[in-house]
Amino acid sequence: MTDATMNSKPGTEIRRPTLTGERLKKRYAAERRFRLYGLGSILTAGLILVFLVGSITGTGYTAFLQTYIKLNISFDPEFLDPAGTGDVAQLASADYGGMVKKNLRDNFPEVTSRRDKRKLYNFVSPNAGFDLRTMVIDDPSLVGQSLDLWIKASDDIDMLTKGYVDRTLEESNRRVSDTELVWYDKLDSNDRIESRFNTDFFVKADSREPEEAGILGAVTGSLLTLVITLLLSFPIGVMAAIYLEEFAPKNKWTDLIEVNINNLAAVPSIVFGLLGLAMFLNFFGFPRSAPLVGGMVLALMTLPTIIIASRSALKAVPPSIREAALGLGASPLQVVTHHVLPLAMPGILTGTIIGMAQALGETAPLLMIGMIAFIVDVPGGFTDPATVLPVQIYLWADSPERAFVERTSAAIMVLLAFLIFMNILAVMLRKKFERRW
């Protein structure tokens, strides 16, 4: 038998990988295609995001402006202080609404009919009187003076300025009538109409009047609620995760607990709201609509997220680190506090912030515990009635006035800003605590 015959036997033939030809071309093509798919997905996601943010900003940015009308206001003692006492209590209770109306009539002497007068009164915000009252109380020497002041316009006029009123429509289909348009154009040509930054939007709470409605009440409510959520869910969640991951024996009870925690994470949030309603409000009798209860309900909802994130962060710490510390005679608690927890912290914090961001955007469970109420005061504490940003968005989106449409979008922008801030915070914390292996 020769070598040649041996090599020709199929079983002993040495097959080396072929590096050329069809297979290689196919492989390259598959890799190129895969990269294109990935790029395509990213682009699609990016486009959707641009569209979403673009449409919200497009409708929302005008809410940051507010129309003001320059009117000559005389602080008539006849309205403010007929007896001439100069008493602050008298000044505070005076009829400012009447004063504004009189001044409007004085500014438009040509308006005489009752119907037209009512239209005229509708030019400025019904709350203009309150603003003037504040001015007078701050400075009583205004009484008797006559000044050119910028008065906040009503939402209809504001919409007209912002171009949301279509002048080509038939009069009956417009919120602003022909006569009003004439007055408006006259004011405009006299430079008595101006758009200013809408400070009120950021420093006031909700109102029935769109031009008076602000976001501060909801923002404060959200912050108070999140403080409670964080204070409850972070320590409980992290402790539960540490116990389950580091100390609990692995048996069917802990398996059962694990399955249930995973289930809880998937429970619709409104169920937590029902639980909160039954437990916190009906059983414990906590106040309705309060950030305290809202925070507790959201904490229930956030707990599974935090526990799951913390457990996987703890799991990711290599067991060799635990063995090393144990082998040196560290107690199990020392192993956790000195080594495992610091290493797991970035993951735990990221999970917590993601949970908080979820809680910030949550509406449904809060509806169940009455945080959907219309609240005109900025909440001052954890038990004051309050609403939260997403509920505010929901309420405004439900309102018929055109001016609330832009405010809805503006509120969404504020909410998004908070979410972006929280996510940046998550990234920064992770960077700060991350360690090289």
Binding site: S320, E323, A324, A325, G327, L328, G329, A330, R435, R436
Partner: protein, 274 residues
């Protein structure tokens, strides 16, 4: 160094023959059985560890060397499915007694693992960790000194003295292993268990570690797992051969390597299997 080498060699000679059989063992394993779940990994191992000696555990992969080593400081406790039967004593004290605190046991019986596992902290903090948690050093100066002597003993100080505050994980594999040894001896345990401490090291670092082991023998009792027959012969006074979970043979290193009683030992050390 050459002196040390000579010493190690002379140990194997009959004159300085390891320990007289009547000496009290530092640690004593009596019918040790270990189960991982249903599977039995050690069968009735009776093994005495003599004080101030290096005991080498050899045997083919998977025969239970690491398992036995981990019984000696109860590191098996952390494995849920692991169950230990039989009796192991340290200075005549049952280490599996329910009143004994495994945490304190591990301060007396230290361990160096097969894979280097420094903490992701500075080199200094790695070594200082043990003394800090056990309160063996009070002042910063004390700790500084322990860190320096431990690193010097482990033959690492020269290489790292300028970067003690850099992370220990940034060292090379061999340097990391020596850091782990320095970390273990900084606690000053009575017994040091080493699981293949040189498997990641180059011959020079290995020689340094072997020299260190020989030095440590004066003050510590050492148990070392190794796959290198030469290493077992060089550093140990007694050698135990494991096979399939059984302790086949234990005796003076000299005798095991020159005149083993069991044919399996003979086969393993001459390279016929394993």
């Amino acid at each position: 160094m050459s002196e040390k080498k000579k010493m190690a060699k002379s140990d194997a000679s009959p004159a300085s023959k390891a320990t007289p059989p009547n000496a009290t063992p530092k640690m004593k394993g009596d019918k040790v059985k270990v189960f991982y779940g249903e599977k039995q990994a050690l069968m009735d191992v009776d093994l005495d560890i003599q004080p101030n000696e290096v005991t080498a555990l050899i045997g083919p992969s998977g025969c239970g060397k690491s398992t036995f080593l981990r019984c000696l400081n109860r590191m098996n406790d952390v494995i849920d499915i692991c169950r230990v039967e039989g009796k192991i004593t340290l200075d005549d004290e049952d280490i599996y007694d329910s009143t004994l605190d495994p945490v304190q046991l591990r301060a007396r019986v230290g361990m160096v693992f097969q894979k280097p596992n420094p903490f992701p902290k500075s080199i200094y903090d790695n070594v200082a960790y043990g003394p800090r948690i056990h309160g063996t050093a009070q002042s910063k100066a004390d700790i500084d000194e322990i860190v320096e002597t431990s690193l010097t003993k482990a033959g690492l100080f020269g290489e790292v003295k300028d970067r003690l505050l850099e992370p220990g994980t940034g060292l090379s594999g061999g340097q990391q292993q020596r850091l782990c040894i320095a970390r273990a001896i900084a606690v000053n345990p009575e017994v040091i268990l080493m699981d293949e401490p040189c498997s990641a090291l180059d011959p020079i670092a290995t020689a340094k570690i072997e020299e260190l082991i020989d030095e440590l023998r004066e003050n510590y009792t050492i148990v070392i797992v190794t796959h290198s027959m030469q290493q077992a012969a060089r550093v140990s006074q007694r050698t135990a051969f494991f096979h399939l979970g059984e302790l086949v043979e234990v005796g003076d290193t000299e005798q095991i390597f020159t005149n083993p009683n069991d044919s399996r030992t003979q086969g393993y050390i001459t390279g016929r299997f394993g």
